[in-house]
Amino acid sequence: MQNTSNAKEAVLTLNKVCKNFGGVVAAKDISFDLYSGEVFGLIGPNGAGKTTLINLITGIYKVDGGTILLNGHDITKTPAHTRARRGITRTFQHPHLLNRCDIETNIYLGVDLAKKNKLLKSLDHKKLLDELLEVAGLKLNMRDGIDKLAYGQQKLLEVVRAILTRPSVLLLDEPAAGLNQKEMEHIVALVDIAIKMNSAVLLIEHRMDLVMSICDRITVLNFGNQIANGKPAEIQDNPVVIEAYLGRKRGA
């Protein structure tokens, strides 16, 4: 796995990224590469610094140390909106939709972002939107307000909006949290579309069945430290990870 990964050029590279909030270490020397077309899992207990890491990658927080490279270019000091325009798109743990706007306005923010990129400008965004909405199982009246949507639908809509931007890096922050089984399947289908689009997907998730089934590689965080890297099977058997996060099986 490692060899094939090295053969391709990484889309996103984190190199010893650090972040402290006062005395709290949220990220300490975090390093990993993201390759296009793969799903990279980021797991760990609550407060391990997973969301902080996404905030660092998208530029909402400034890093205290280390560098972040996108397609080989240093974006460590690039503002958040420029990073988004270069292809880093994210979703939030709690959906960040425009509450006072209708669904159409919310969705078309994604199309607007895609159209800011010269390479993506001429692509058929309407077709992609229809496809995504179908895969997400969303039948929407475009002029309805966001408050008409259930929580799960809002989360799905946010993922749809993110993929609509045709991102090179897609960061999903607990997309399946609070979703029922059917909605989770929709999320998996949406992630599949993103992979076919050759996006690099970084997935934060607590639902282990989901993580183990769709991730190609996984890294485990605990108190801001990277405690393990590897394929899902390796992570499942890693004693350090079991101790810190997964928990021992009864009787084991």
Partner: protein
């Protein structure tokens, strides 16, 4: 499908009715009433500017009347002093005001929410101070009088009725443009900044620049309103462009509803015409007027348009549930 057609027909009919009213209004009304309506439409343009910066981009500005003043003084100086054509003066008013708003925005929008609002109060005070004291540029406390009339080619707008058509024309054009803005990428970026700045920046929107553009567009509208005001009244002074007027514009958009340009229109009409209708109350007029506005804000916090929408949604919901119940039986 048939229902949709009937709705379209009703809208078409209303538009035709409005046009008929507008065209005939100066013939059936007193000059005083035309004057009131002209001022109403100028207020509407200023409030429409507030719809862009406050309603869409979510930044409550107390400086709109100051921007309007800049537009008015640019027109007065260019057309009356330096003898440029009125249309050129008007265009320069719009561009100059927009440029001023855009540049000052870089400083003001470093501040967020209430702090931005407070800073616009300061800006308004500074502008008013300049209007009242810069004798060379603004005529100082005396103001500038005997301003030239608006004219196109050889056609001079020398009556209230002619100005009525002119101002209505500009108002309709401005409304259509702002209406189109709502479903454009730029309009969406305004609303994204209003609702969620973090989500906006993650969607590739430069928050600071977007707010600046919103402020500049509101500057264009304010410049237009100020320019029209200078042409219409023929005399401008610092008292016309003071903080209370700016506050009034915010009240107007709050009453009308900040969710659509229609709110700005309804608010402007109400705030300008209500004092006329309430004149019979004599000494108690302002009291009743104030209490009325306060009551309106308590009952309809989303303004008249927002409240109307809510009522309509409730009506539809009740109708639907009744239909469902009947089908269930």
């Amino acid at each position: 499908m048939r229902k949709l057609k009937i709705k379209n027909l009703i809208i078409l009919f209303l538009i035709a009715l409005a046009f008929a009213l507008i065209i005939n209004f100066p013939h059936i009304s007193s000059i005083y009433m035309i004057r009131v309506l002209n001022m109403t439409m100028i207020t509407y343009l200023a409030v429409l500017s507030l719809y862009v910066v406050f309603g869409m981009a979510g930044q409550s500005s107390f400086a709109q009347c100051g921007l309007m003043g800049i537009g008015a003084y640019i027109t007065a100086n260019m057309c009356t002093r330096w003898g440029f054509s009125p249309i050129f003066g008007m265009i320069m008013s719009m561009l100059g005001t927009a440029l001023f708003a855009f540049i000052i925005g870089f400083a003001l929008f470093r501040l967020k929410r209430f702090y931005f609002s407070f800073s616009t109060i300061a800006l308004m005070t500074i502008l008013n101070g300049i209007f009242a004291n810069w004798t060379k540029g603004t005529g100082g406390p005396v103001g500038m009088g005997n301003l030239v009339q608006f004219s196109v080619g050889g056609f001079v707008f020398d009556t209230e009725a002619k100005y009525f058509y002119l101002i209505i024309g500009f108002s309709i054009a401005a409304s259509i443009i702002i209406w189109k803005l709502f479903r454009s990428p730029l309009g969406r970026s305004f609303m994204a900044v209003r609702d969620n700045e973090i989500a906006a920046s993650c969607m590739g929107i430069n928050n600071l620049l977007t707010k600046n553009i919103a402020f500049a567009i509101s500057g264009i509208l304010c410049g237009l309103a100020g320019s029209l005001f200078a042409f219409l009244s023929g005399y401008i002074s610092a008292t016309s462009f003071a903080l209370p007027q700016s506050q009034l514009y915010l009240v107007v958009i709050m009453i009308g509803g900040s969710s659509s340009p229609i709110g700005a229109l309804i608010g402007s009409i109400l705030i300008n015409l209500l004092p006329e209708w309430l004149r019979f109350l004599k000494d108690y007029m302002m009291l009743i007027y104030g209490v009325g506005i306060m009551g309106l804000m308590v009952v309809l916090p989303e303004g008249l348009v927002g409240g109307g929408k809510d009522l309509y949604a409730k009506y539809i919901k009740r109708k639907r549930s009744r239909v469902d119940a009947e089908q269930g039986l």
